[in-house]
Protein backbone atom coordinates (compact mmCIF):
# COMPACT_ATOMS: atom_id res chain seq x y z
CA UNK A 1 0.00 0.00 0.00
CA UNK A 2 1.15 3.53 -0.73
CA UNK A 3 2.54 5.52 2.11
CA UNK A 4 2.26 9.10 3.17
CA UNK A 5 5.33 11.19 3.89
CA UNK A 6 4.44 13.29 6.86
CA UNK A 7 6.31 16.15 8.42
CA UNK A 8 5.22 18.29 11.32
CA UNK A 9 7.14 21.54 11.48
CA UNK A 10 7.02 24.47 13.88
CA UNK A 11 8.62 27.88 13.45
CA UNK A 12 11.99 26.96 14.89
CA UNK A 13 12.31 23.22 14.39
CA UNK A 14 11.11 20.14 12.59
CA UNK A 15 9.02 18.34 15.18
CA UNK A 16 8.45 15.01 13.53
CA UNK A 17 8.99 13.53 10.12
CA UNK A 18 8.59 10.08 8.67
CA UNK A 19 6.38 7.70 6.74
CA UNK A 20 2.80 7.12 7.86
CA UNK A 21 -0.35 5.39 6.74
CA UNK A 22 -2.95 7.80 8.04
CA UNK A 23 -3.22 11.35 9.34
CA UNK A 24 -6.11 12.83 11.19
CA UNK A 25 -6.44 16.47 12.12
CA UNK A 26 -8.98 19.10 12.98
CA UNK A 27 -9.41 22.00 10.59
CA UNK A 28 -11.58 25.05 11.04
CA UNK A 29 -14.33 23.21 9.16
CA UNK A 30 -14.13 19.99 11.11
CA UNK A 31 -12.27 16.72 11.43
CA UNK A 32 -10.30 15.58 8.40
CA UNK A 33 -8.75 12.18 7.77
CA UNK A 34 -6.07 11.69 5.15
CA UNK A 35 -5.13 8.41 3.54
CA UNK A 36 -2.64 7.83 0.71
CA UNK A 37 -3.98 9.12 -2.59
CA UNK A 38 -5.79 12.10 -1.08
CA UNK A 39 -6.40 15.04 -3.40
CA UNK A 40 -4.21 18.12 -2.93
CA UNK A 41 -5.64 20.27 -0.20
CA UNK A 42 -4.64 23.31 1.79
CA UNK A 43 -6.55 23.71 5.03
CA UNK A 44 -6.36 25.96 8.06
CA UNK A 45 -5.95 24.02 11.28
CA UNK A 46 -8.29 24.58 14.16
CA UNK A 47 -7.33 24.10 17.77
CA UNK A 48 -6.69 20.52 18.69
CA UNK A 49 -4.28 17.72 18.24
CA UNK A 50 -2.99 16.15 15.08
CA UNK A 51 -2.66 12.39 15.01
CA UNK A 52 -0.35 10.52 12.70
CA UNK A 53 -0.50 6.73 12.34
CA UNK A 54 3.00 5.47 11.71
CA UNK A 55 3.80 2.52 9.46
CA UNK A 56 4.06 0.35 12.57
CA UNK A 57 0.45 1.15 13.42
CA UNK A 58 1.25 3.35 16.42
CA UNK A 59 -0.52 6.68 16.68
CA UNK A 60 1.70 9.68 17.26
CA UNK A 61 0.00 12.70 18.70
CA UNK A 62 1.14 16.27 18.35
CA UNK A 63 -0.27 19.56 19.49
CA UNK A 64 -0.31 21.98 16.61
CA UNK A 65 -2.11 25.24 17.08
CA UNK A 66 -2.23 28.19 14.72
CA UNK A 67 -1.20 26.61 11.49
CA UNK A 68 -2.19 24.88 8.31
CA UNK A 69 -2.05 21.53 6.63
CA UNK A 70 -1.14 20.79 3.06
CA UNK A 71 -1.41 17.56 1.10
CA UNK A 72 0.20 17.06 -2.26
CA UNK A 73 1.41 13.89 -3.98
CA UNK A 74 1.08 11.88 -0.77
CA UNK A 75 3.22 14.41 1.08
CA UNK A 76 1.51 15.80 4.12
CA UNK A 77 2.95 18.90 5.75
CA UNK A 78 1.56 20.18 9.01
CA UNK A 79 2.87 23.66 9.69
CA UNK A 80 2.25 25.48 12.94
CA UNK A 81 3.79 28.41 14.75
CA UNK A 82 3.98 26.32 17.85
CA UNK A 83 3.96 22.58 17.62
CA UNK A 84 5.09 19.87 20.00
CA UNK A 85 4.68 16.16 20.38
CA UNK A 86 2.04 15.39 22.97
Amino acid sequence: MAELTVSVVSADAEVWTGPATQVSARTTEGEIGILPGHEPILAILGAGEVRVKGTDGVWIKADAADGFLSVENDTVTIVARHAALA
Binding site: V9, A11, D12, E14, E29
Partner: protein
Protein backbone atom coordinates in the same frame (compact mmCIF):
# COMPACT_ATOMS: atom_id res chain seq x y z
CA UNK B 1 64.62 52.50 34.81
CA UNK B 2 64.56 55.22 32.19
CA UNK B 3 61.38 57.13 31.46
CA UNK B 4 61.37 56.02 27.81
CA UNK B 5 61.56 52.36 28.76
CA UNK B 6 58.75 52.71 31.30
CA UNK B 7 56.46 54.23 28.67
CA UNK B 8 57.12 51.38 26.26
CA UNK B 9 56.50 48.75 28.96
CA UNK B 10 53.19 50.42 29.80
CA UNK B 11 52.12 50.33 26.17
CA UNK B 12 53.02 46.66 25.87
CA UNK B 13 50.98 45.80 28.94
CA UNK B 14 48.00 47.76 27.67
CA UNK B 15 48.14 46.01 24.28
CA UNK B 16 48.38 42.65 26.05
CA UNK B 17 45.26 43.25 28.14
CA UNK B 18 43.33 44.47 25.10
CA UNK B 19 44.43 41.39 23.23
CA UNK B 20 43.13 39.14 26.01
CA UNK B 21 39.71 40.77 25.74
CA UNK B 22 39.51 40.70 21.96
CA UNK B 23 40.70 37.08 21.88
CA UNK B 24 37.97 36.11 24.33
CA UNK B 25 35.33 37.93 22.27
CA UNK B 26 36.59 36.22 19.15
CA UNK B 27 36.20 32.80 20.75
CA UNK B 28 32.74 33.61 22.10
CA UNK B 29 31.59 34.84 18.69
CA UNK B 30 33.03 31.75 17.01
CA UNK B 31 31.06 29.45 19.30
CA UNK B 32 27.89 31.47 18.78
CA UNK B 33 28.10 31.32 14.98
CA UNK B 34 27.62 27.56 15.10
CA UNK B 35 24.53 27.94 17.25
CA UNK B 36 23.10 30.73 15.11
CA UNK B 37 23.69 28.74 11.95
CA UNK B 38 22.02 25.72 13.48
CA UNK B 39 18.98 27.88 14.23
CA UNK B 40 18.88 29.16 10.66
CA UNK B 41 18.94 25.57 9.46
CA UNK B 42 16.28 24.48 11.96
CA UNK B 43 13.91 27.19 10.76
CA UNK B 44 14.30 26.19 7.14
CA UNK B 45 11.68 23.39 6.99
CA UNK B 46 9.08 25.84 8.27
CA UNK B 47 9.85 28.65 5.87
CA UNK B 48 10.13 26.15 3.02
CA UNK B 49 6.71 24.69 3.83
CA UNK B 50 5.15 28.14 4.18
CA UNK B 51 6.69 29.42 0.95
CA UNK B 52 5.50 26.33 -0.89
CA UNK B 53 1.99 26.75 0.38
CA UNK B 54 1.89 30.47 -0.44
CA UNK B 55 3.21 29.91 -3.94
CA UNK B 56 0.61 27.18 -4.37
CA UNK B 57 -2.21 29.55 -3.47
CA UNK B 58 -0.75 32.48 -5.38
CA UNK B 59 -0.05 30.57 -8.58
CA UNK B 60 -2.83 27.98 -8.75
CA UNK B 61 -5.70 30.26 -7.95
CA UNK B 62 -6.48 33.62 -9.43
CA UNK B 63 -7.99 35.32 -6.49
CA UNK B 64 -7.65 39.03 -5.90
CA UNK B 65 -6.24 39.68 -2.48
CA UNK B 66 -4.97 42.89 -0.93
CA UNK B 67 -1.66 41.28 -0.08
CA UNK B 68 -0.87 40.09 -3.59
CA UNK B 69 -2.15 42.86 -5.86
CA UNK B 70 0.10 45.78 -6.71
CA UNK B 71 -1.45 49.11 -5.77
CA UNK B 72 -1.80 51.56 -8.66
CA UNK B 73 0.04 54.33 -6.88
CA UNK B 74 2.45 53.85 -4.03
CA UNK B 75 2.52 56.84 -1.71
CA UNK B 76 4.16 55.39 1.35
CA UNK B 77 6.65 52.59 1.89
CA UNK B 78 7.76 50.98 5.14
CA UNK B 79 11.37 49.95 5.61
CA UNK B 80 12.32 47.43 8.27
CA UNK B 81 15.98 47.66 9.21
CA UNK B 82 17.61 44.76 11.03
CA UNK B 83 20.73 45.89 12.86
CA UNK B 84 22.39 44.53 15.99
CA UNK B 85 22.29 45.56 19.63
CA UNK B 86 26.04 45.68 20.09
CA UNK B 87 28.83 47.04 17.99
CA UNK B 88 32.38 45.69 17.70
CA UNK B 89 31.37 43.93 14.52
CA UNK B 90 33.32 45.78 11.88
CA UNK B 91 31.19 47.31 9.18
CA UNK B 92 28.16 45.18 10.02
CA UNK B 93 25.83 47.98 11.12
CA UNK B 94 27.35 50.62 8.86
CA UNK B 95 26.68 48.38 5.86
CA UNK B 96 23.06 47.73 6.65
CA UNK B 97 22.40 51.40 7.44
CA UNK B 98 24.10 52.54 4.25
CA UNK B 99 21.99 50.07 2.28
CA UNK B 100 18.90 51.47 3.99
CA UNK B 101 19.92 55.02 3.04
CA UNK B 102 20.37 53.99 -0.57
CA UNK B 103 16.95 52.36 -0.56
CA UNK B 104 15.47 55.50 1.00
CA UNK B 105 16.99 57.68 -1.71
CA UNK B 106 15.63 55.34 -4.37
CA UNK B 107 12.13 55.29 -2.88
CA UNK B 108 12.07 59.04 -2.39
CA UNK B 109 13.18 59.63 -5.97
CA UNK B 110 10.11 57.61 -6.98
CA UNK B 111 7.99 60.02 -4.96
CA UNK B 112 7.32 57.69 -2.04
CA UNK B 113 7.25 58.66 1.57
CA UNK B 114 9.37 56.38 3.75
CA UNK B 115 8.55 55.22 7.26
CA UNK B 116 11.00 53.21 9.34
CA UNK B 117 10.74 50.26 11.65
CA UNK B 118 13.94 49.44 13.46
CA UNK B 119 15.30 46.29 15.06
CA UNK B 120 18.45 46.51 17.18
CA UNK B 121 19.92 49.24 19.34
CA UNK B 122 22.46 50.36 16.75
CA UNK B 123 19.84 51.41 14.21
CA UNK B 124 17.85 53.18 16.92
CA UNK B 125 20.99 55.04 18.03
CA UNK B 126 21.72 56.05 14.43
CA UNK B 127 18.23 57.50 14.01
CA UNK B 128 18.12 59.20 17.41
CA UNK B 129 21.50 60.84 16.85
CA UNK B 130 20.30 62.30 13.56
CA UNK B 131 16.96 63.24 15.14
CA UNK B 132 15.07 61.32 12.52
CA UNK B 133 11.64 59.91 13.08
CA UNK B 134 10.82 56.23 13.09
CA UNK B 135 7.63 54.35 13.82
CA UNK B 136 8.61 51.57 16.14
CA UNK B 137 11.67 49.84 17.54
CA UNK B 138 12.48 46.41 18.87
CA UNK B 139 15.70 46.09 20.83
CA UNK B 140 17.40 43.66 23.13
CA UNK B 141 17.10 40.34 21.33
CA UNK B 142 19.20 40.49 18.21
CA UNK B 143 21.81 37.99 19.37
CA UNK B 144 19.35 35.13 19.52
CA UNK B 145 16.05 36.24 17.99
CA UNK B 146 12.82 34.83 19.36
CA UNK B 147 9.97 33.82 17.11
CA UNK B 148 7.60 35.89 19.24
CA UNK B 149 9.47 39.05 18.25
CA UNK B 150 9.20 38.14 14.58
CA UNK B 151 5.50 37.52 15.10
CA UNK B 152 5.08 40.93 16.71
CA UNK B 153 7.02 42.69 13.95
CA UNK B 154 5.03 40.82 11.30
CA UNK B 155 1.70 41.68 12.93
CA UNK B 156 2.65 45.37 13.18
CA UNK B 157 3.69 45.55 9.54
CA UNK B 158 0.73 43.65 8.15
CA UNK B 159 -1.68 45.79 10.17
CA UNK B 160 -0.08 48.95 8.79
CA UNK B 161 -0.23 47.49 5.30
CA UNK B 162 -3.92 46.67 5.50
CA UNK B 163 -4.70 50.19 6.73
CA UNK B 164 -5.94 52.66 4.13
CA UNK B 165 -3.26 54.89 2.62
CA UNK B 166 -5.29 57.98 3.49
CA UNK B 167 -5.25 56.96 7.15
CA UNK B 168 -1.51 56.49 7.20
CA UNK B 169 -1.19 52.95 5.92
CA UNK B 170 1.73 51.84 3.80
CA UNK B 171 1.62 50.36 0.30
CA UNK B 172 4.96 48.60 0.30
CA UNK B 173 7.13 46.88 2.85
CA UNK B 174 10.86 46.46 2.39
CA UNK B 175 13.29 44.72 4.66
CA UNK B 176 17.02 45.47 4.90
CA UNK B 177 19.29 42.97 6.61
CA UNK B 178 22.70 41.34 6.53
CA UNK B 179 22.63 37.94 4.92
CA UNK B 180 25.02 35.30 6.17
CA UNK B 181 26.88 34.10 3.08
CA UNK B 182 29.89 32.52 4.76
CA UNK B 183 32.12 33.01 7.77
CA UNK B 184 33.95 35.79 5.97
CA UNK B 185 31.24 37.28 3.79
CA UNK B 186 28.05 38.95 4.96
CA UNK B 187 26.18 41.00 2.41
CA UNK B 188 23.54 43.60 3.15
CA UNK B 189 20.38 42.79 1.27
CA UNK B 190 17.09 44.46 0.44
CA UNK B 191 13.97 42.37 -0.01
CA UNK B 192 10.50 43.60 -0.83
CA UNK B 193 8.12 41.71 1.43
CA UNK B 194 4.81 43.16 0.30
CA UNK B 195 3.16 43.26 -2.15
CA UNK B 196 4.13 39.70 -2.54
CA UNK B 197 6.51 38.45 -5.13
CA UNK B 198 6.89 34.78 -4.50
CA UNK B 199 9.87 33.86 -6.58
CA UNK B 200 11.95 31.55 -4.49
CA UNK B 201 10.71 28.10 -3.71
CA UNK B 202 8.35 27.83 -6.66
CA UNK B 203 9.21 24.31 -7.57
CA UNK B 204 8.78 23.15 -11.09
CA UNK B 205 6.86 19.90 -11.02
CA UNK B 206 9.13 17.04 -11.98
CA UNK B 207 7.76 13.58 -12.61
CA UNK B 208 4.20 14.66 -11.91
CA UNK B 209 3.78 16.97 -14.81
CA UNK B 210 0.31 18.01 -13.81
CA UNK B 211 0.23 20.93 -11.43
CA UNK B 212 -1.58 19.91 -8.29
CA UNK B 213 -5.00 21.48 -8.28
CA UNK B 214 -5.50 22.41 -4.68
CA UNK B 215 -8.68 22.20 -2.74
CA UNK B 216 -8.97 24.96 -0.17
CA UNK B 217 -10.59 24.71 3.17
CA UNK B 218 -12.51 26.84 4.19
CA UNK B 219 -12.06 29.00 1.03
CA UNK B 220 -9.29 30.47 -1.07
CA UNK B 221 -9.69 33.95 0.44
CA UNK B 222 -9.72 32.67 4.01
CA UNK B 223 -6.71 30.46 3.43
CA UNK B 224 -4.82 33.38 1.92
CA UNK B 225 -5.89 35.60 4.82
CA UNK B 226 -4.48 33.13 7.30
CA UNK B 227 -1.43 32.20 5.29
CA UNK B 228 0.07 35.55 4.37
CA UNK B 229 0.75 36.86 7.88
CA UNK B 230 2.39 33.50 8.57
CA UNK B 231 4.49 33.89 5.45
CA UNK B 232 5.54 37.43 6.39
CA UNK B 233 6.47 36.27 9.88
CA UNK B 234 8.53 33.40 8.62
CA UNK B 235 10.38 35.69 6.21
CA UNK B 236 11.09 38.19 8.98
CA UNK B 237 12.14 35.45 11.38
CA UNK B 238 14.46 33.99 8.77
CA UNK B 239 15.97 37.43 8.12
CA UNK B 240 16.47 37.96 11.86
CA UNK B 241 18.24 34.63 12.23
CA UNK B 242 20.42 35.34 9.20
CA UNK B 243 21.26 38.73 10.62
CA UNK B 244 22.19 37.22 13.99
CA UNK B 245 24.48 34.66 12.36
CA UNK B 246 26.03 37.38 10.19
CA UNK B 247 26.58 39.57 13.26
CA UNK B 248 28.47 36.82 15.07
CA UNK B 249 30.58 36.13 12.00
CA UNK B 250 31.34 39.84 11.61
CA UNK B 251 32.27 40.12 15.28
CA UNK B 252 34.56 37.15 15.00
CA UNK B 253 36.33 38.64 12.00
CA UNK B 254 36.64 42.08 13.60
CA UNK B 255 37.96 40.64 16.86
CA UNK B 256 40.41 38.40 15.05
CA UNK B 257 41.96 41.36 13.25
CA UNK B 258 41.98 43.31 16.52
CA UNK B 259 43.92 40.49 18.21
CA UNK B 260 46.31 40.34 15.26
CA UNK B 261 46.85 44.07 15.44
CA UNK B 262 47.55 43.82 19.15
CA UNK B 263 50.17 41.18 18.35
CA UNK B 264 51.98 43.46 15.89
CA UNK B 265 51.79 46.34 18.36
CA UNK B 266 53.30 44.21 21.11
CA UNK B 267 56.09 43.12 18.77
CA UNK B 268 56.86 46.69 17.70
CA UNK B 269 56.88 48.04 21.24
CA UNK B 270 59.03 45.15 22.48
CA UNK B 271 61.63 46.06 19.83
CA UNK B 272 61.50 49.71 20.85
CA UNK B 273 61.73 48.82 24.54
CA UNK B 274 64.78 46.62 23.90
CA UNK B 275 66.34 49.45 21.97
CA UNK B 276 65.68 51.89 24.79
CA UNK B 277 67.09 49.47 27.36
CA UNK B 278 70.23 48.94 25.32
CA UNK B 279 70.64 52.70 24.87
CA UNK B 280 70.30 53.19 28.58
CA UNK B 281 72.95 50.56 29.34
CA UNK B 282 75.29 52.05 26.76
CA UNK B 283 74.82 55.44 28.30
CA UNK B 284 75.52 54.13 31.80
CA UNK B 285 78.70 52.37 30.64
CA UNK B 286 79.99 55.48 28.92
CA UNK B 287 79.20 57.50 32.03
CA UNK B 288 81.18 55.08 34.20
CA UNK B 289 84.08 54.93 31.77
CA UNK B 290 84.05 58.70 31.44
CA UNK B 291 83.95 59.12 35.22
CA UNK B 292 86.84 56.67 35.75
CA UNK B 293 88.83 58.44 33.04
CA UNK B 294 88.31 61.77 34.67
CA UNK B 295 89.33 60.38 38.08
CA UNK B 296 92.54 58.69 36.76
CA UNK B 297 93.64 61.73 34.73
CA UNK B 298 93.12 64.11 37.67
CA UNK B 299 95.37 62.03 39.88
Amino acid sequence: MGAQLRVYRQKIRSAQTTKKITRAMELIAASRIQKAQARVRASEPYSRAVTRAVSAVASYSNVDHILTTEPEKVTRAAVLILSSDRGLAGAFNANVLRQAEELTALLQSEGKEVVYYLVGRKAVGYFNFRKRAFEKEWTGGTDSPEFDTAQEVGATLVERFIQDTAEGGVDEIHIVYNRFVSMITQTPEVVRLLPLEVVEGVETPGEHDLLPLYDFEPGVGDVLDALLPVYIESRIFNAMLQSAAAKHAATQKAMKSASDNADTLILDYTRLANNARQAEITQQISEIVGGADALSSSR
